[in-house]
Symmetry: D2
Subunit: 233 residues, 4 copies
Amino acid sequence: MKWKTEVSSSGENAVVRGEPLEKVMEMQFADAIWLVLKGEKPSNKESEIFNTVLSSSIDHGVGNPSTVSSRTVQSGGNGMNTSVAAGIMALGDSHGGAVEEAMKILQSEKSPENIVEDYLRRGERLPGLGHKVYSEEDPRAERILEKAEELGLAGRSVEKMLSIRRELARQKVELVLNVDGAIAAVMSDLNWSHQLGKGFFIIARTPGLVAHVHEETGEKPFRRQEGEYIDRE
Amino acid sequence: MKWKTEVSSSGENAVVRGEPLEKVMEMQFADAIWLVLKGEKPSNKESEIFNTVLSSSIDHGVGNPSTVSSRTVQSGGNGMNTSVAAGIMALGDSHGGAVEEAMKILQSEKSPENIVEDYLRRGERLPGLGHKVYSEEDPRAERILEKAEELGLAGRSVEKMLSIRRELARQKVELVLNVDGAIAAVMSDLNWSHQLGKGFFIIARTPGLVAHVHEETGEKPFRRQEGEYIDRE
Amino acid sequence: MKWKTEVSSSGENAVVRGEPLEKVMEMQFADAIWLVLKGEKPSNKESEIFNTVLSSSIDHGVGNPSTVSSRTVQSGGNGMNTSVAAGIMALGDSHGGAVEEAMKILQSEKSPENIVEDYLRRGERLPGLGHKVYSEEDPRAERILEKAEELGLAGRSVEKMLSIRRELARQKVELVLNVDGAIAAVMSDLNWSHQLGKGFFIIARTPGLVAHVHEETGEKPFRRQEGEYIDRE
Amino acid sequence: MKWKTEVSSSGENAVVRGEPLEKVMEMQFADAIWLVLKGEKPSNKESEIFNTVLSSSIDHGVGNPSTVSSRTVQSGGNGMNTSVAAGIMALGDSHGGAVEEAMKILQSEKSPENIVEDYLRRGERLPGLGHKVYSEEDPRAERILEKAEELGLAGRSVEKMLSIRRELARQKVELVLNVDGAIAAVMSDLNWSHQLGKGFFIIARTPGLVAHVHEETGEKPFRRQEGEYIDRE
């Protein structure tokens, strides 16, 4: 079986999405990411907001599941690749999944009213709304929306996300728009498929995981945690 | 057990390496990567060469082990996080390892002469030298060195890498400086620890793996490859 | 945070599910697996059929996604743990998933008639039925059912699986009961939760993956596969 | 590229190491593991001690790195395959590595005296000796050696392991023979390559990891751990 791809080629005339690798080397890394994922180059404005979105998610403390996984696997006596991979594996449906889920509802045909009704009926939390710490506004979310507005990139998905928020306030409770919701809205207005929602979160967070694994490499191996055995009988 | 870190914090006053997250959001993604890994911001010149290094490694065809692993794991019926992780796992000692190995010898106290002697005695290939396709020069390696020179960032590691090449030519065979060798030399001159050599290759390649997994998601599941059973008797 | 578990403890009076580790050491491995997963010991008859089920899935050629993933990751220059893990990761919804899916429908309240209707309406294949090679009968499936009958362990799930097969024949097409269907039926009659369906397949296949990784360790590193770049334009 | 293997084949006349799959199904699981790894069937005595070795390592509390990794990755919202794989990944050089390392020195040509000297000179701990809890004797180690003696399977590796212990007592300190040392000695006397030392530990522990992931599936997702950010300045 021969593998076929539209992504890139290797060897003498190597290309990425049709662009010669020599030219890709002249691109900003964020622009090259856009190219390899979407098959086209971003405009200057798209590049600016994309850098903001990626940088906003680069790392977020040591206690979340992906960081704990990466550092724990390193402490078992493993190298960089295995340890970073363990952190990325932790990024399942409950961890970094809100962006993808919010993109999915924003890109659906459903109205804000119906979306809110569906979630409330199922007793689930709406993705992109609510924050443990911020009750008035999430400054990172505000900054992303602000920048999208300034650059003229905010469109119907930003509008729809804000409508969902208002609709939830009307039907049940007022919640802050959080950074996941802002990213989901802006990325949807930039025509990114929700299928790549988890993908760009992985790209954004990988440098943070590398930093944590590097730090953990200087610690003693074999981190043992406290555990308690409960006899069922 | 409480985890401790100098990398970042989460919550209301979240920081990355002491820098408020709101300010990190204003940084180019490549600069934020530099910050999270090194604990300081790059200069404009450092930023420029770092973007080149990252973009140069973003993807390189479909047939290498990391891409095959990612796509194969996706075809078993898995999501983005698990599939990308499988590709990163493949980046072991034999895949993307030349940069780290070359950084290690460049950052050692050993002279080019002794380094070449050691490798020849052990019958091993020197990292960073030789290319399957290019016999005269590797254009990507040349471009990276050229840019490092233009920016005034080339230093003793670039010089040492070139000495190793000359020394190998003197002792045994003339080989081209390849892109791994150029990256290793430049990153060493930028004071990056060889312990992060594999790390930034992982960061650079993750977007390519995301693109391949996304493409594979559109293919039929369960890629079966041709195999042959050999009876030992 | 302290972890709590009913599975096992370590240290001086270590137990597995309440059983002292010294006594677990006197158990057959398959019985110890049953104990750790179900919290009780199997009867002799349960032990016999469980050994058959596990041994039947221990390995199955070199070309499937899990084996290819494990061997490819090893060829990137990785050790046993990382390489075996990559193979297990490939065991997603499309690979070894039929047992779990079949257990789910067998353990549901739905009638065979409704189950078949639902699958045909959605245009999906019924799990546990059909085989690429066998059109009359799958000898492994027959042997598992036969043994379950002999041991008096076949019950309503085996009956339901056979009813689903007859129902599909009535509504559309006659297909052979395959080994996944036989395992799913027998494990359901042994009161195993479908949530463990993928779990015991993983347990059964891990030794095969270890054998493949060991074999691959003797091969040249960096397996490159043939790939073709398709220019989209 | 066609994959070649001596391990197994699939399809109508599927075999494992030359043995028809129908016959493998009649084997105890531990015997089938022996077959797939070594290419031959165990004797009754070999089977008995192998079951003891595997069962002794099936699980060992909740706080070690592999269990923490598996449960943490599950809590990020992942399925059985990804979560179990994360636990296996944690089984690096510092976790379950003592068996492999002890097998390596037992299978080397070096004398007990030289082995102990080498470790003491490098300031490293000898694998297979010492225990946090037991100072007189490790009952599991004793049981394994006892059983090997009873079955007539203890040979020169058991003898060498005990000599290493005496030699360490003579040169520096008296330490108990632990379970890793006993397993390493017995497996070496059973002619297992040290290259498979980590492999059979992975096989033995996978059921425990499946049990932990299953238990964790019933817990709330996204386990956050306590972390503290340290400002470097």
